[in-house]
């Protein structure tokens, strides 16, 4: 299997007003293509920080990160952005939607940054995603007019619209009822099965974590 993530964090330091907190000390993560990984741990151990680092949103740490065989340190901000757009998909909590845009505009947001790949994108692709996620009726609605489950599905749709190779999800089911939780998890795994997409999920839900190939327990640094 092809290794797509090779991450070695020596230290990540959080600076607050007077104190500083060191997390993810000497942390190593290797992920193969198509793997499903769950990251669990108590609050404050650095789960979301780890996801930000993997997702190329945070470069403020000491260590080395190789993604798809390239050392990310050498990449320019614009290249990192391009990778976020085309190779990574983020599935966050339902609140990560732009309230002033319709659900459709929210889902299509990554297309504005797709550059030449935008031409490859066909209307059927969008229709397929919409149908698969069952959100056609709410496309013209604004997020504030939608239920929690509908918003979570919209966030999911935005995360997969560019057919990413890795989906990074941060507590995607945190505020959902059992039905919607199951729906989101099934959609994630369907992506993994059909397109061999790598799934990395940060969760507190051990039931959800167990469904992944590998569960990484993060512990507080000493």
């Amino acid at each position: 299997m092809k290794k797509i993530i090779d991450l070695h964090i020596k230290e990540k330091v959080y600076k607050k007003k007077k104190t500083q907190l060191s997390i993810l000390n000497n942390f190593r993560l290797e992920v193969n293509a198509g793997e499903k990984i769950a990251i669990v741990g108590e609050s404050g151990v650095g789960k979301s920080s780890l996801l930000n680092i993997i997702g190329l949103l945070d470069k403020d740490y000491s260590g080395e990160y190789t993604l798809f065989g390239s050392l990310t340190d050498n990449l320019q901000a614009s290249e990192l952005a391009q990778w976020r757009n085309q190779k990574l998909g983020f599935v966050l909590q339902e609140s990560a939607l732009i309230n002033s845009l319709t659900i459709e505009d929210n889902i299509k947001l990554p297309l504005h940054y797709a550059g030449s790949r935008k031409k490859e994108f066909k209307l059927e692709d969008f229709e397929n995603v919409i149908n698969a996620i069952e959100i056609k009726p709410i496309l013209k609605k604004k997020p504030l007019d939608c239920s929690g489950g509908e918003k979570a599905r919209a966030v999911f749709a935005r995360g997969i619209i560019m057919k990413p190779q890795i989906i990074l999800s941060d507590e995607p089911t945190a505020s959902l009822d059992v039905d919607n939780r199951e729906r989101i998890v099934n959609l994630l795994f369907k992506m993994n099965k059909e397109f061999n997409t790598t799934i990395i999920t940060v969760t507190h839900d051990l039931e959800v974590a167990k469904l992944h190939d590998r569960v990484i327990h993060l512990e507080r640094s000493k």
Binding site: A81, N85, F90, A96, S100, H112
Partner: protein, 148 residues
């Protein structure tokens, strides 16, 4: 919508705030040209015209409020755009350019009105400088909203 942080209503709001400030200055300039017979009216208007710059400056604060609330409201949007492939630098540049464009257009409109009324074209310039400073300060604050 595209890559811009601005919606139609945001552009309209910013246009109106700029227009208000420029118009206020224009009204002051117009009042100065009036040859009023009424001493009492003259004295009343003078109590404002004498403090024209200060009053204009006080009212420019509504532009500060616009920038402040705009960025606050766009917190999630900035983060979402970075998630899907934008970079902070480009967001900041686009925001700055869009504000400057709106300012430029409003100023252009005011120039036309000033020419039509035969008023001094430079009397508005200090407001433009102040607004540019406000735009630059607010642009420097965009980075604050990078993290969700």
């Amino acid at each position: 919508m595209g890559r811009s942080l601005f919606r139609f209503v945001d552009r309209l709001e910013l246009c109106i705030t700029y227009l208000f400030c420029f118009s206020l200055n224009l009204i002051f300039d117009y009042v100065k040209t009036l040859s009023l017979d009424s001493y009492i009216l003259k004295a009343f208007l003078e109590s404002f015209v004498d403090h024209q710059t200060l009053i204009n400056l006080l009212f420019t604060f509504i532009v500060v409020v616009f920038h402040y609330q705009m960025l606050h409201r766009k917190k999630t949007e900035i983060y979402c755009r970075i998630l899907v492939g934008d970079i902070l630098f480009n967001i900041t540049i686009r925001y700055t350019l869009e504000c400057l464009t709106i300012l430029g257009l409003v100023y252009l409109l005011l120039i036309v009105i000033n020419v039509y009324l035969n008023f001094n074209l430079t009397s508005n310039l200090y407001l433009v400088c102040i607004f540019v400073i406000y735009i630059l300060i607010s642009a420097s604050q965009v980075g604050k909203y990078e993290k969700f």
